[in-house]
Amino acid sequence: MPVDLSPDATEAEAYAAADAWVREHLPADVLKAALGAEWPEVAAFVADPERSTPWFAALGDAGLSSPTWPCEHGGLGLSAASAGAVTEAVTQYRVGRTMADFVGLALAGPTIIAHGTAAQKERFLGPLARGEHRWCQLFSEPGAGSDLAGLSTRAEQQADGTWVVNGQKVWSSFAHLSDFGLLMARTDPSLPKHRGITYFLVDMTTPGVEARPLRQMTGHAEFNEVFLTEVELPADAVLGELNGGWAVAITTLMQERNGLTGRPAVGDGKADELLRRAHGNGSLEEPVLRDRLLRMLVEERALQMTTLRAYAEAGRGAAGAEGSVRKLVNAQLEEEAGALAAEVDPLTALSWPAGGAVPAPVEEFLAMKTTSIAGGTSEIQRNIIAERLLGLPKDPDPEKDKPFSERPRTS
């Protein structure tokens, strides 16, 4: 039962409705823990599938996990700003869907809404909103990262209209845990590289799909290499036009940048947390470190204000190149936060009890480069800003107009 909220609800109305819903429906012990800022307890609830699965289903039925989506597909039809208010209301209790669902909620859903058939929307959006399906993004390949259009995973159509896919993907986050994947594959190598690509929705249990977790520099294994061997896909696995996959991917990539930019609200953030730690252990009195923390505070607040502005100015419009601005800033902030975490607490970051939990500064330090690479590197974001927002000339690409099959083989 969706919360009772008009699609034209203001931010304040949306916030109030979501806040009231969470207070009414969140299990009492968890609500109490959240109100008392006992975050480890809240985190344990979210991490326990027995308890969080029904919670996420209820949250999804209420429309609160996907507030911008159309009402008929598990959403509330809200503007970006009011949807941001809903998300903010849920995240203040830290009981929203986790980062492992980022691809599904932030990328797959909006891409299917923009390009899917009625049947695809019917099939995928409801379960996505309720947290029944986890999705992954099968874009990057060993030979195609920043130059994504250079991908060579091949999909060939059979006489009966079905497809056979062969190739390899890499860095696919949470692919080993996913039910479905967003796949880009080459369907016509005789066309220039951007034009012969088709976008598929892949059931990850299809025979021939094999995800092998890769250990990251953090020590965790969240991303994977994914081997696709003689994978048979039905005709209706195609999302959007045949050989029109690049346009579909642009929707996904814009959503990704728009989503990797922090919260659309001005308030407590990473800098505040670091300032608290520095105050706690006395390092705040060190003047250079102090000013670096305060600079980070300024930049983080300014990013929050920018995200808020982007949401307010977007109305119901699609995510645009402007998202690259925020994605770039967020990447720099995360890097600075990770670096500062280790400086605020240098010894904790360097050694800890064997077998014990890895301290937060260590996790933060090691994860600091994530956003500056994932979702398009910072160099690529600067190119996009320069070319799309400032109108500067495009970088030369000698392969751009040649048939893909005729390009010199590189790696």
């Binding site: 806040d19 407590d268 600079r295 204000m305 808020l308 190119n383 800003i385």
Partner: protein, 399 residues
């Protein structure tokens, strides 16, 4: 979600918060009107011509601004004869003026002076009357706070007021007084036995107003030598002059931040245009990544600056969030404009280093703006109290 510092589950946002970034048609009209006026009457070469000729300002334009658009009355409440515009309105005007580096008396008279006088006018008919004359475009006002190395440190002011109430005399020196040599009126912050207070200088009798050379060629400034000169105290007997000065600086910071946004965005625009036409090595220099990426970073800073300035402008003055917004804007926008102005010169090459080219005018303005109301580092230090509200005040109390 709007306007909360500290996302605690127990305090949902108030429903009566101003809605940030809720742009209206009136905002767009005001921006357009100012842009048109500046384009026809005060383009950047006009600012340069005024500066070169040693003229103080364009008096005809000043009249037009008052008579046709009422710009001098925008920051003056209706009860004092102004137009009672919002801070967003004033910021939009400042941004458009910043784009063409418009100087002259506008900032001191129509922004700084009202910010100081509005709270004083609550207890003081003289301050109220002055506001009315500002709104009508009938007078110009300079605001004298800076002394020595402190641009805006109300607690450290040493200029001294002596004498009985109603016939005080001021002694001291005030620096970097914008329009200080020519303004019809001068407001001075000076110390008294009961702390800092505001005074209206008797400009006919005694103060030596020394016109200075200025880094920002578009904004004349003076040093005031006050040697036991007559002045009248403004405000009520209990008015805390330092608090008034502090609040005025926060309000003016938001307006100045919008000016910085206008300047930074214009540098980005002009530079993007230049690097797409200037060719080297057989191609536009704007096709080199070293150039593209530097300019992309500048564009990012300018966008962030815009968000910070207007987020603050949408807050209600006097609230915690307003102070937070003003301080974030002061820190971010000051540094953003300075860095962008430097980058603009770099990406123009040799031509950017010439007197004739306009780029250095932006750098000069950026340097002034970054100091005028207190510097970025001081603003950041004050932000500590917003992130760590429980911290002992001693660590956050910075003048």
């Amino acid at each position: 979600m709007t306007g909360e510092t500290g996302a605690t589950a127990s305090e949902p946002a108030g429903a009566d918060d101003l809605v940030e970034f809720a742009w209206t048609d009136e905002h767009a009209d005001l921006r357009q009107a100012v842009r048109r006026l500046m384009a026809t009457r005060a383009p950047l070469d006009r600012a340069r011509a005024v500066a070169d000729s040693g003229e103080r300002h364009d008096a005809d334009l000043w009249r037009t601004m008052a008579e046709q658009l009422g710009l001098q009355g925008l920051a003056v409440p209706e009860e004092h004869g102004g137009f009672g515009g919002t801070l967003v309105d004033v910021a939009l005007v400042a941004e458009e003026m910043g784009t063409v580096l418009h100087g002259g008396p506008f900032l001191p008279t129509a922004v700084l002076a009202p910010a100081v006088l509005v709270p004083l006018a609550e207890h003081d008919g003289e301050a109220a009357a002055l506001l009315g004359r500002i709104a009508a475009g009938a007078t110009t006002v300079a605001v004298a706070v800076a002394e020595g190395r402190h641009a805006w440190a109300p607690g450290l002011v040493t200029t001294r007021a002596t004498g009985a109430p109603g016939s005080e005399r001021l002694t001291g020196r005030k620096d970097l007084v914008l329009d200080g040599a020519d303004a019809d009126e001068v407001l001075v912050l000076a110390t008294t036995d009961s702390g800092p207070a505001w005074f209206r200088l008797d400009t006919t009798d005694g103060p030596r107003r020394e016109r200075c050379a200025t880094l920002d060629l578009t904004r004349p400034a003076a040093t005031l030598h006050l040697d036991d000169v007559p002045a009248r105290r403004l405000g009520g007997p209990d008015t805390d002059g330092a608090a008034v000065a502090d609040r005025a600086a926060l309000v003016a910071s938001v307006v100045l931040a919008a000016e910085q946004v206008g300047g930074a965005a214009e540098v980005v625009r002009r530079t993007a245009e230049y690097v797409t036409t200037r060719r080297q090595f057989g191609r536009p220099v704007g096709s080199f990544q070293g150039v593209k990426h530097r300019l992309a970073d500048a564009a990012v800073r300018a966008e962030m600056a815009r968000s910070a300035a207007y987020w603050a402008a949408f807050q209600r003055p006097g609230t915690d969030d307003f102070e937070l917004g003003a301080l974030v804007a002061r820190s971010h926008c000051s540094e953003a404009f300075l860095q962008t102005a430097k980058d603009g010169i770099q990406l123009h090459g040799g031509i950017g280093f010439t007197w004739e080219h306009d780029m250095h005018l932006f750098l000069r303005r950026a340097r002034l703006d970054a100091t005028l109301l207190g510097d970025a580092a001081a603003a950041r230090e004050r932000l500590l109290a917003h992130a760590l509200p429980d911290l002992a005040p001693s660590a956050t109390e910075v003048a």
